[in-house]
Subunit: 195 residues, 2 copies
Protein backbone atom coordinates (compact mmCIF):
# COMPACT_ATOMS: atom_id res chain seq x y z
CA UNK A 1 0.00 0.00 0.00
CA UNK A 2 1.41 3.33 -1.09
CA UNK A 3 1.00 6.47 0.96
CA UNK A 4 1.51 9.87 -0.67
CA UNK A 5 3.18 13.00 0.48
CA UNK A 6 2.28 13.86 4.05
CA UNK A 7 0.52 17.08 5.13
CA UNK A 8 2.85 19.96 5.90
CA UNK A 9 0.59 21.34 8.60
CA UNK A 10 -1.30 20.18 11.64
CA UNK A 11 -5.06 20.30 10.93
CA UNK A 12 -5.92 21.10 14.55
CA UNK A 13 -3.50 23.99 14.65
CA UNK A 14 -4.83 25.60 11.49
CA UNK A 15 -8.43 25.11 12.62
CA UNK A 16 -7.52 26.96 15.80
CA UNK A 17 -6.22 29.83 13.72
CA UNK A 18 -9.39 29.91 11.64
CA UNK A 19 -11.51 29.70 14.77
CA UNK A 20 -9.77 32.71 16.26
CA UNK A 21 -10.54 34.73 13.15
CA UNK A 22 -14.20 33.73 12.90
CA UNK A 23 -14.55 34.32 16.60
CA UNK A 24 -13.19 37.80 16.33
CA UNK A 25 -14.75 38.94 13.06
CA UNK A 26 -17.71 36.72 12.35
CA UNK A 27 -18.24 34.50 9.32
CA UNK A 28 -19.01 36.95 6.55
CA UNK A 29 -16.46 39.50 7.67
CA UNK A 30 -13.69 36.92 7.49
CA UNK A 31 -12.44 36.58 3.93
CA UNK A 32 -10.67 33.64 2.40
CA UNK A 33 -7.63 35.87 2.11
CA UNK A 34 -7.73 36.46 5.87
CA UNK A 35 -7.98 32.78 6.54
CA UNK A 36 -5.14 31.78 4.24
CA UNK A 37 -2.79 34.31 5.76
CA UNK A 38 -3.50 33.41 9.35
CA UNK A 39 -3.66 29.69 8.76
CA UNK A 40 -0.47 29.83 6.68
CA UNK A 41 -2.10 27.68 4.05
CA UNK A 42 -2.45 27.80 0.31
CA UNK A 43 -5.89 27.96 -1.19
CA UNK A 44 -5.59 24.44 -2.58
CA UNK A 45 -4.65 23.00 0.77
CA UNK A 46 -7.59 24.66 2.45
CA UNK A 47 -10.10 23.45 -0.08
CA UNK A 48 -8.59 19.99 -0.28
CA UNK A 49 -8.64 19.63 3.50
CA UNK A 50 -11.88 21.34 4.44
CA UNK A 51 -13.95 21.54 1.27
CA UNK A 52 -15.27 25.06 1.63
CA UNK A 53 -15.28 28.12 3.82
CA UNK A 54 -18.64 27.06 5.14
CA UNK A 55 -17.46 23.57 6.06
CA UNK A 56 -14.40 25.01 7.75
CA UNK A 57 -16.64 27.28 9.77
CA UNK A 58 -18.77 24.38 10.94
CA UNK A 59 -15.65 22.61 12.02
CA UNK A 60 -14.54 25.67 13.96
CA UNK A 61 -17.86 25.83 15.79
CA UNK A 62 -17.64 22.16 16.68
CA UNK A 63 -14.16 22.59 17.99
CA UNK A 64 -15.10 25.67 19.95
CA UNK A 65 -18.11 24.00 21.49
CA UNK A 66 -16.16 20.93 22.44
CA UNK A 67 -13.41 22.93 24.08
CA UNK A 68 -15.60 25.32 26.02
CA UNK A 69 -17.77 22.49 27.28
CA UNK A 70 -14.76 20.55 28.51
CA UNK A 71 -13.45 23.67 30.20
CA UNK A 72 -16.75 24.54 31.86
CA UNK A 73 -17.37 21.01 33.01
CA UNK A 74 -13.89 20.81 34.49
CA UNK A 75 -14.33 24.07 36.37
CA UNK A 76 -17.70 22.95 37.64
CA UNK A 77 -16.50 19.53 38.76
CA UNK A 78 -13.43 20.88 40.44
CA UNK A 79 -15.42 23.14 42.69
CA UNK A 80 -17.71 22.21 45.53
CA UNK A 81 -19.81 25.35 45.45
CA UNK A 82 -22.38 25.60 42.64
CA UNK A 83 -23.16 29.18 43.50
CA UNK A 84 -19.53 30.23 43.32
CA UNK A 85 -19.14 28.58 39.95
CA UNK A 86 -22.01 30.59 38.54
CA UNK A 87 -20.77 33.85 39.99
CA UNK A 88 -17.31 33.25 38.64
CA UNK A 89 -18.58 32.29 35.20
CA UNK A 90 -20.59 35.48 34.89
CA UNK A 91 -17.72 37.58 36.17
CA UNK A 92 -15.43 36.16 33.54
CA UNK A 93 -17.58 37.74 30.87
CA UNK A 94 -16.94 41.14 32.39
CA UNK A 95 -13.21 40.54 32.59
CA UNK A 96 -13.04 40.73 28.80
CA UNK A 97 -13.82 44.41 28.86
CA UNK A 98 -10.47 45.24 30.39
CA UNK A 99 -8.39 42.61 28.71
CA UNK A 100 -9.34 43.08 25.07
CA UNK A 101 -9.78 46.31 23.18
CA UNK A 102 -12.65 44.81 21.27
CA UNK A 103 -14.00 41.76 23.01
CA UNK A 104 -14.63 38.62 20.99
CA UNK A 105 -17.55 37.38 23.04
CA UNK A 106 -18.63 33.80 22.54
CA UNK A 107 -18.44 32.16 19.12
CA UNK A 108 -21.77 30.42 19.62
CA UNK A 109 -23.78 33.48 20.56
CA UNK A 110 -21.96 35.58 17.99
CA UNK A 111 -23.02 33.06 15.37
CA UNK A 112 -26.57 33.00 16.69
CA UNK A 113 -26.75 36.73 16.18
CA UNK A 114 -25.16 36.67 12.74
CA UNK A 115 -27.20 33.86 11.18
CA UNK A 116 -30.30 33.52 13.35
CA UNK A 117 -32.24 30.73 11.67
CA UNK A 118 -31.12 31.36 8.11
CA UNK A 119 -28.77 28.37 7.87
CA UNK A 120 -29.96 24.95 9.00
CA UNK A 121 -26.63 23.37 9.82
CA UNK A 122 -25.46 26.40 11.70
CA UNK A 123 -28.76 26.76 13.54
CA UNK A 124 -28.46 23.17 14.71
CA UNK A 125 -25.01 23.78 16.12
CA UNK A 126 -26.01 27.00 17.79
CA UNK A 127 -28.93 25.26 19.45
CA UNK A 128 -26.61 22.50 20.61
CA UNK A 129 -24.17 25.03 21.98
CA UNK A 130 -26.83 26.81 23.96
CA UNK A 131 -28.24 23.54 25.23
CA UNK A 132 -24.78 22.70 26.51
CA UNK A 133 -24.46 25.94 28.41
CA UNK A 134 -27.90 25.47 29.87
CA UNK A 135 -27.01 22.00 31.03
CA UNK A 136 -23.89 23.20 32.77
CA UNK A 137 -25.87 25.86 34.58
CA UNK A 138 -28.54 23.34 35.46
CA UNK A 139 -25.94 21.12 37.08
CA UNK A 140 -24.54 24.06 38.98
CA UNK A 141 -28.00 25.03 40.20
CA UNK A 142 -28.75 21.51 41.37
CA UNK A 143 -25.49 21.49 43.25
CA UNK A 144 -26.12 24.92 44.75
CA UNK A 145 -29.63 24.01 45.82
CA UNK A 146 -28.33 20.89 47.53
CA UNK A 147 -25.76 23.00 49.34
CA UNK A 148 -28.33 25.58 50.28
CA UNK A 149 -26.59 28.47 48.50
CA UNK A 150 -29.26 28.73 45.77
CA UNK A 151 -32.98 29.27 46.31
CA UNK A 152 -35.12 26.18 45.97
CA UNK A 153 -38.44 27.80 45.12
CA UNK A 154 -37.54 27.59 41.44
CA UNK A 155 -36.62 24.58 39.37
CA UNK A 156 -33.10 24.03 38.05
CA UNK A 157 -34.51 24.28 34.52
CA UNK A 158 -36.03 27.66 35.21
CA UNK A 159 -32.86 29.04 36.71
CA UNK A 160 -30.70 27.51 34.01
CA UNK A 161 -32.70 29.25 31.29
CA UNK A 162 -32.51 32.43 33.32
CA UNK A 163 -28.73 32.18 33.61
CA UNK A 164 -28.10 31.39 29.97
CA UNK A 165 -30.21 34.38 29.08
CA UNK A 166 -28.31 36.53 31.53
CA UNK A 167 -24.95 35.47 30.21
CA UNK A 168 -25.99 36.06 26.60
CA UNK A 169 -27.24 39.46 27.61
CA UNK A 170 -23.95 40.31 29.25
CA UNK A 171 -22.12 39.34 26.09
CA UNK A 172 -24.23 41.71 24.06
CA UNK A 173 -23.70 44.47 26.60
CA UNK A 174 -19.96 43.96 26.45
CA UNK A 175 -20.02 44.18 22.67
CA UNK A 176 -22.17 47.25 22.90
CA UNK A 177 -19.44 48.93 24.92
CA UNK A 178 -21.16 49.03 28.31
CA UNK A 179 -19.19 50.38 31.26
CA UNK A 180 -17.62 47.95 33.62
CA UNK A 181 -19.62 49.48 36.43
CA UNK A 182 -22.91 48.87 34.65
CA UNK A 183 -22.00 45.28 33.88
CA UNK A 184 -20.97 44.83 37.48
CA UNK A 185 -24.38 46.01 38.63
CA UNK A 186 -26.16 43.65 36.28
CA UNK A 187 -24.10 40.69 37.46
CA UNK A 188 -24.63 41.66 41.08
CA UNK A 189 -28.39 41.58 40.65
CA UNK A 190 -28.33 38.24 38.84
CA UNK A 191 -26.12 36.71 41.48
CA UNK A 192 -28.09 38.20 44.36
CA UNK A 193 -31.37 36.91 43.01
CA UNK A 194 -30.06 33.37 43.05
CA UNK A 195 -30.05 33.20 46.83
Amino acid sequence: MKIGRPLEFDPDTVVDAAMALFWEQGYEATSLQDLLEHMHLSKSSLYQTFGSKHALFLRCIDRYHERTMVDLQARLDGRSDGFQFIAETLNRVIQEVNELANPKGCLVTNTANEFAQSDREIARRVAAGLAGYRDIFRQAVVKGQREGSIRSDMTPDQLANYLVTGMSGLRTMVKAGADRADLRQAVDVIVTTLH
Copy 2:
Protein backbone atom coordinates in the same frame (compact mmCIF):
# COMPACT_ATOMS: atom_id res chain seq x y z
CA MET B 1 -34.35 81.73 -7.28
CA LYS B 2 -34.90 78.70 -9.46
CA ILE B 3 -35.83 75.36 -7.98
CA GLY B 4 -35.06 72.19 -9.90
CA ARG B 5 -36.97 69.02 -10.45
CA PRO B 6 -38.51 67.74 -7.23
CA LEU B 7 -37.75 64.37 -5.62
CA GLU B 8 -39.94 61.56 -6.87
CA PHE B 9 -39.87 59.79 -3.52
CA ASP B 10 -40.43 60.50 0.13
CA PRO B 11 -37.11 60.26 2.00
CA ASP B 12 -38.75 58.99 5.18
CA THR B 13 -40.54 56.23 3.32
CA VAL B 14 -37.42 54.95 1.60
CA VAL B 15 -35.43 55.10 4.83
CA ASP B 16 -38.09 52.94 6.40
CA ALA B 17 -37.63 50.40 3.63
CA ALA B 18 -33.87 50.41 4.09
CA MET B 19 -34.29 50.12 7.85
CA ALA B 20 -36.44 47.04 7.46
CA LEU B 21 -33.76 45.40 5.34
CA PHE B 22 -30.86 46.22 7.64
CA TRP B 23 -32.96 45.16 10.57
CA GLU B 24 -33.67 41.80 9.04
CA GLN B 25 -30.33 41.01 7.46
CA GLY B 26 -27.70 43.15 9.11
CA TYR B 27 -25.44 45.69 7.45
CA GLU B 28 -22.96 43.57 5.54
CA ALA B 29 -25.52 41.02 4.41
CA THR B 30 -27.62 43.75 2.84
CA SER B 31 -26.30 44.59 -0.62
CA LEU B 32 -26.80 47.79 -2.52
CA GLN B 33 -28.84 45.78 -4.99
CA ASP B 34 -31.17 44.72 -2.19
CA LEU B 35 -31.54 48.27 -1.02
CA LEU B 36 -32.26 49.71 -4.44
CA GLU B 37 -34.95 47.14 -5.16
CA HIS B 38 -36.77 47.55 -1.87
CA MET B 39 -36.40 51.29 -1.74
CA HIS B 40 -37.50 51.60 -5.37
CA LEU B 41 -34.64 53.96 -6.02
CA SER B 42 -31.96 54.29 -8.63
CA LYS B 43 -28.36 54.13 -7.59
CA SER B 44 -27.85 57.81 -8.38
CA SER B 45 -30.77 58.86 -6.25
CA LEU B 46 -29.53 56.85 -3.32
CA TYR B 47 -26.01 58.24 -3.46
CA GLN B 48 -27.19 61.75 -4.13
CA THR B 49 -29.60 61.65 -1.21
CA PHE B 50 -27.68 59.67 1.38
CA GLY B 51 -24.04 59.76 0.31
CA SER B 52 -23.12 56.16 0.96
CA LYS B 53 -24.40 52.85 2.21
CA HIS B 54 -22.74 53.57 5.53
CA ALA B 55 -24.38 56.97 5.90
CA LEU B 56 -27.74 55.50 5.01
CA PHE B 57 -27.24 52.89 7.69
CA LEU B 58 -26.50 55.50 10.32
CA ARG B 59 -29.65 57.28 9.35
CA CYS B 60 -31.60 54.07 9.70
CA ILE B 61 -30.27 53.51 13.19
CA ASP B 62 -31.15 57.04 14.18
CA ARG B 63 -34.65 56.65 12.87
CA TYR B 64 -35.07 53.30 14.56
CA HIS B 65 -33.84 54.63 17.87
CA GLU B 66 -36.07 57.65 17.71
CA ARG B 67 -39.14 55.60 16.91
CA THR B 68 -38.64 52.89 19.48
CA MET B 69 -37.92 55.43 22.18
CA VAL B 70 -41.09 57.33 21.41
CA ASP B 71 -43.03 54.11 21.42
CA LEU B 72 -41.58 52.88 24.70
CA GLN B 73 -42.00 56.21 26.42
CA ALA B 74 -45.62 56.41 25.29
CA ARG B 75 -46.35 52.92 26.59
CA LEU B 76 -44.68 53.72 29.88
CA ASP B 77 -46.46 57.02 30.37
CA GLY B 78 -49.85 55.63 29.47
CA ARG B 79 -49.67 53.00 32.16
CA SER B 80 -49.79 53.48 35.90
CA ASP B 81 -48.01 50.26 36.81
CA GLY B 82 -44.23 50.22 36.33
CA PHE B 83 -44.02 46.54 37.02
CA GLN B 84 -46.62 45.67 34.42
CA PHE B 85 -44.81 47.76 31.83
CA ILE B 86 -41.63 45.80 32.38
CA ALA B 87 -43.36 42.44 32.26
CA GLU B 88 -45.16 43.37 29.08
CA THR B 89 -42.00 44.70 27.44
CA LEU B 90 -40.12 41.47 28.11
CA ASN B 91 -43.03 39.37 26.95
CA ARG B 92 -43.16 41.21 23.67
CA VAL B 93 -39.72 39.87 22.85
CA ILE B 94 -41.05 36.33 23.16
CA GLN B 95 -44.03 37.08 20.97
CA GLU B 96 -41.73 37.36 17.98
CA VAL B 97 -40.98 33.67 18.08
CA ASN B 98 -44.49 32.81 16.97
CA GLU B 99 -45.13 35.71 14.70
CA LEU B 100 -42.02 35.67 12.51
CA ALA B 101 -40.31 32.68 10.95
CA ASN B 102 -36.96 34.27 11.57
CA PRO B 103 -37.18 37.02 14.12
CA LYS B 104 -35.55 40.35 13.41
CA GLY B 105 -34.72 41.19 16.99
CA CYS B 106 -33.71 44.75 17.75
CA LEU B 107 -31.72 46.79 15.26
CA VAL B 108 -29.57 48.30 18.01
CA THR B 109 -28.52 45.05 19.63
CA ASN B 110 -28.15 43.37 16.24
CA THR B 111 -25.77 46.14 15.29
CA ALA B 112 -23.92 45.86 18.59
CA ASN B 113 -23.28 42.22 17.84
CA GLU B 114 -22.28 42.78 14.23
CA PHE B 115 -19.85 45.65 14.73
CA ALA B 116 -18.90 45.58 18.40
CA GLN B 117 -16.46 48.47 18.75
CA SER B 118 -14.97 48.32 15.28
CA ASP B 119 -16.73 51.43 13.94
CA ARG B 120 -16.70 54.60 16.00
CA GLU B 121 -19.83 56.25 14.66
CA ILE B 122 -21.81 53.08 14.95
CA ALA B 123 -20.48 52.33 18.42
CA ARG B 124 -21.61 55.76 19.55
CA ARG B 125 -25.13 55.15 18.30
CA VAL B 126 -25.30 51.70 19.80
CA ALA B 127 -24.23 53.08 23.16
CA ALA B 128 -26.86 55.80 22.88
CA GLY B 129 -29.50 53.24 22.02
CA LEU B 130 -28.69 51.10 25.00
CA ALA B 131 -28.58 54.13 27.27
CA GLY B 132 -32.06 54.97 26.08
CA TYR B 133 -33.40 51.55 26.93
CA ARG B 134 -31.75 51.67 30.30
CA ASP B 135 -33.33 55.01 31.04
CA ILE B 136 -36.79 53.75 30.18
CA PHE B 137 -36.32 50.80 32.48
CA ARG B 138 -34.99 53.07 35.20
CA GLN B 139 -38.12 55.19 35.00
CA ALA B 140 -40.27 52.09 35.16
CA VAL B 141 -38.39 50.83 38.20
CA VAL B 142 -38.73 54.15 40.01
CA LYS B 143 -42.44 54.09 39.31
CA GLY B 144 -42.76 50.48 40.41
CA GLN B 145 -40.83 51.10 43.60
CA ARG B 146 -43.06 54.01 44.44
CA GLU B 147 -46.10 51.82 43.85
CA GLY B 148 -44.63 49.02 45.91
CA SER B 149 -44.68 46.47 43.10
CA ILE B 150 -40.89 46.42 42.74
CA ARG B 151 -38.38 45.64 45.47
CA SER B 152 -36.66 48.66 47.00
CA ASP B 153 -33.53 47.01 48.31
CA MET B 154 -31.84 47.69 44.98
CA THR B 155 -31.34 50.98 43.21
CA PRO B 156 -33.17 51.85 40.00
CA ASP B 157 -29.81 51.95 38.22
CA GLN B 158 -28.93 48.46 39.32
CA LEU B 159 -32.24 47.05 38.23
CA ALA B 160 -32.22 49.00 34.98
CA ASN B 161 -28.87 47.52 34.01
CA TYR B 162 -30.18 44.14 35.01
CA LEU B 163 -33.24 44.52 32.82
CA VAL B 164 -31.41 45.78 29.76
CA THR B 165 -29.08 42.83 30.09
CA GLY B 166 -32.02 40.48 30.44
CA MET B 167 -33.77 41.85 27.40
CA SER B 168 -30.62 41.66 25.29
CA GLY B 169 -30.17 38.10 26.42
CA LEU B 170 -33.70 37.22 25.43
CA ARG B 171 -33.10 38.65 21.99
CA THR B 172 -30.07 36.45 21.53
CA MET B 173 -31.98 33.42 22.77
CA VAL B 174 -34.75 34.12 20.30
CA LYS B 175 -32.26 34.35 17.45
CA ALA B 176 -30.62 31.17 18.64
CA GLY B 177 -33.94 29.40 18.19
CA ALA B 178 -34.81 28.80 21.83
CA ASP B 179 -38.16 27.19 22.62
CA ARG B 180 -40.99 29.39 23.68
CA ALA B 181 -41.22 27.44 26.91
CA ASP B 182 -37.58 28.11 27.76
CA LEU B 183 -37.95 31.80 27.04
CA ARG B 184 -41.09 31.86 29.14
CA GLN B 185 -39.17 30.39 32.07
CA ALA B 186 -36.40 32.95 31.74
CA VAL B 187 -38.87 35.82 31.66
CA ASP B 188 -40.76 34.39 34.61
CA VAL B 189 -37.63 34.35 36.72
CA ILE B 190 -36.66 37.89 35.74
CA VAL B 191 -40.13 39.19 36.48
CA THR B 192 -40.41 37.28 39.73
CA THR B 193 -37.10 38.55 41.02
CA LEU B 194 -38.30 42.12 40.64
CA HIS B 195 -40.76 41.81 43.47
